[in-house]
């Protein structure tokens, strides 16, 4: 069954989409999740829920996605292949579907060596491309990876990620293409801070006709402070933060750095809106998720269309 | 036994092309160095295997050192560089098993540098004297445990 999620309909109409991301709590207290959820309502088209991001234990992505659903927010469930084999992945997918979750972002995940439990055994039974194909098979053919029929007719809107800031452009574009062929219906990228580099990647994707088949939602990030920016650079794989960004933040007194970070984020959103081939923005605000509504408003992205 | 009376027994593996020549020269020009040093001639310091250093200590030597050519001048090109690494390896191992690292050392001595040979000999004698006798002196076997015979 084809899903008809809010995010899907917005992208299908060609409207510039807005998504944001939250990290589940390291514990069982979900008050902050509920509070932020209340703030997101009507401000974004969907909210991504990460899956043990940076290989560090957090509350499960599907649990927090359900909490968001209950609060009237449409979640995008992240599913990494790092921790669960194909049995557990398919199982969790079916469970998520039963709970009403339909947007699924399929990714490989950061390596355990970089996380808070480096001694854990890595799984990676599947990689992102294979998992995308498996989700598509479950949705379109109603069968598990082994060909057995499932009960029910789950609908999924399948997403994948791409990192535009890589060395071998051709190699990464081929991988992007593989994901789309396997079934990816939207792409979210790592935060764009270096427009030149991003444009080189985007233009290649456009040239290969990939943006026609699959909308690309460019990532943006609100950096709370120069210190946080410096830390993210080293702790998050694939995060590319140029020196100019750190310099701009450092030039401002500490108590004003958050505002500067928000300003930079808003500027970036506006630039991306004017860039051909970009289907939307995916906003991250690590440590300042409560500022997301403000960012969306300042970037002139409100009101969000009602496509129900 | 007090430290003043303790006369260390020190083995020195000296390479033929440089340091042994220096030792010879020291002898020829009547430059004295302590009799505590027992010189063993090797064709190159790179001939010294870590097991020689360990066996020397196991058989009761209070100290053992290797002398090779100046770096860059080794007759066999890299023998002295290999010896340097092996000596470092043995020193680390000694540290891990509770024996003073400084009982094993390496020096680079040019063929003509008799004074340096004598200086090193004197320095090592005093250094080992200060460290005291080999901690295993009480239970010195006549030779290390032998391998068993194969088929």
């Amino acid at each position: 069954m084809k899903a008809e999620t809010n995010l899907q309909k917005i992208l299908a109409r060609g409207t510039f989409a807005v998504t944001c991301e939250i990290n589940p709590p390291r514990g069982t207290k979900v008050d902050a999740v509920r509070e932020n959820a209340a703030g997101f309502k009507g401000k974004v088209d969907a909210v991504n829920v990460s899956d043990n991001a940076t290989a560090s234990v957090r509350m499960s992505s599907w649990a927090v996605s359900k909490i968001l659903l209950d609060a009237g927010i449409e979640p995008v469930l992240h599913m990494v292949t790092r921790d669960r084999n194909r049995i557990a992945l398919q199982s969790d997918l079916l469970g998520a579907s039963a709970l009403g979750i339909q947007n699924v972002l399929c990714l490989t995940g950061d390596h355990p060596a970089r996380g808070d439990h480096p001694e854990a055994k890595k799984v990676f039974d599947l990689d992102a491309v294979q998992w995308i194909a498996a989700v598509k098979q479950i949705r379109d053919q109603g069968t598990l990876m082994n060909g057995e029929k499932i009960s029910g007719d789950p609908g999924f809107f399948i997403g994948a990620v791409a990192n535009p800031f890589v060395r071998s452009l051709e190699l990464h574009i081929l991988r992007l293409q593989k994901k789309i062929v396997a079934g990816a219906e939207f792409i979210q990228t790592q935060p764009v801070l270096d427009m030149e580099h991003f444009k080189a990647w985007l233009n290649q994707a456009i040239a290969e006709g990939l943006t026609d088949r699959c909308p690309i939602i460019a990532g943006v990030i609100a950096l709370k402070s120069a210190a946080i920016a410096e830390d993210l650079r080293h702790s998050v794989p694939g995060m590319m933060i140029p020196d100019s960004v750190i310099e701009r933040l450092s030039a401002v007194p500490e108590d004003q750095q958050l505002d500067e970070g928000i300003k930079m984020c808003v500027e970036k959103i506006q630039t991306l809106r004017e860039t051909g081939g970009v289907g939307g923005v995916h906003i991250r605000a690590p440590g300042c998720e409560e500022k997301l509504p403000e960012i969306v408003e300042k970037a002139g992205l409100l009101p969000r269309p009602d496509v129900s | 036994m007090t430290t003043e009376q303790f006369e260390p027994e020190i083995i020195a593996f000296c390479c033929e092309y440089c340091s042994y020549a220096a030792a010879d020269l020291a002898g020829s020009i009547r430059m004295s160095y302590p009799p505590n040093i027992k010189v063993i001639l090797v064709p190159c310091s790179g001939r010294v295997d870590p097991v020689y250093l360990l066996h020397a200590l196991e058989q009761g030597a209070d100290g053992v050192y290797v002398t090779g050519c100046m770096e860059g001048d080794c007759h066999f090109l890299t023998g002295n560089l290999k010896a340097k690494k092996r000596v470092a390896y043995v020193r680390k191992m000694l540290d891990e098993i509770g024996i003073e690292q400084d009982r094993v050392q390496m020096f680079n001595i040019a063929a003509s540098d008799a004074p340096e040979f004598a200086r090193v000999a004197k320095m090592m004698t005093e250094k080992i004297r200060a460290l005291g006798p080999n901690p295993m002196k009480k239970n010195v076997p006549s030779r290390p445990a032998q391998g068993i015979s194969g088929p």
Binding site: A113, Q130, M145 | I99, M136
Partner: protein, 224 residues
């Protein structure tokens, strides 16, 4: 070959605590090549352990012997006579883990200790440096990757790599490690096979690997 290295001295000493009459057995196979457990290493480690124990006033006898290989029951049987005669209370094997296991099976009443940490299947990169090249998945498909193995050499074992963490051609886990997918890409360019990188490699059947349990290979034509 199998690459291993000797356990730290502290651990070896803790292992032989309480044993006074030990046989240390080396191996002339892989562990000789990677300087971990050949006759030289047996001489070095046994001397060091004897020195250490005498330093502690708890002398130990460590006899030394090196077999052609320890992964062959027939070679292990060469130890029979000596083990019976000398009545060792422990045998320390300096072979890869297969050695101590074979010795344990042959001498049921003698404690067997592994002197090495067995690492991986690999080869020489340069003198003194060995790297892992094969994970023993049981179904080799390196021809799909220009002759390189991503299961072993990609930190995440991706068959459809690279991942988003591959930055500047280096692996996200270790900046000193090349991203194998960049190397696979270069090779496939040289082979004129880049278009193959656009085809998805399907999910792997891991049942041929250790995942399916310890494996056996049987050659019916060679069994008697």
């Amino acid at each position: 070959m199998i690459i291993a290295e000797h356990k730290p001295m502290k651990e070896l000493l803790a292992m032989i605590e309480g044993f006074n009459n030990i046989l240390m057995v080396g191996c002339k196979g892989c562990v000789t090549v990677c300087n971990a457990g050949g006759s030289k290493e047996v001489a070095i480690l046994s001397a060091a352990l004897r020195i250490a124990r005498r330093r502690q006033d708890k002398p130990v006898t460590i006899d030394e012997f090196t077999l052609d290989r320890q992964c062959e029951p027939e070679f292990i049987s060469w130890l029979d006579e000596q083990v019976k005669k000398k009545k060792y209370d422990a045998i320390m094997s300096l072979a890869c883990s297969i050695g101590p296991q074979y010795i344990a099976e042959a001498f049921e009443t003698v404690v067997v200790l592994p002197g090495l940490n067995t690492g991986f299947m690999g080869g020489t990169i340069e003198h003194g440096i060995w790297g892992e090249f094969c994970a023993g998945c049981g179904d080799c498909v390196i021809q799909d990757f220009g002759g390189l193995c991503p299961i072993t050499r990609c930190a995440k074992g991706l068959l459809n790599g690279p991942c988003s963490g591959s930055v500047d051609g280096k692996c996200e886990v270790n900046k000193d490690m090349d991203c194998i997918w960049e190397l696979i890409y270069e090779r496939m360019k040289n082979l004129g096979q880049v278009d193959r990188l656009a085809e998805m490699i399907g999910a792997k059947d891991w049942s041929t690997s250790l995942s399916g349990g310890p494996r056996k290979i049987i050659r019916e034509d060679l069994t008697l």
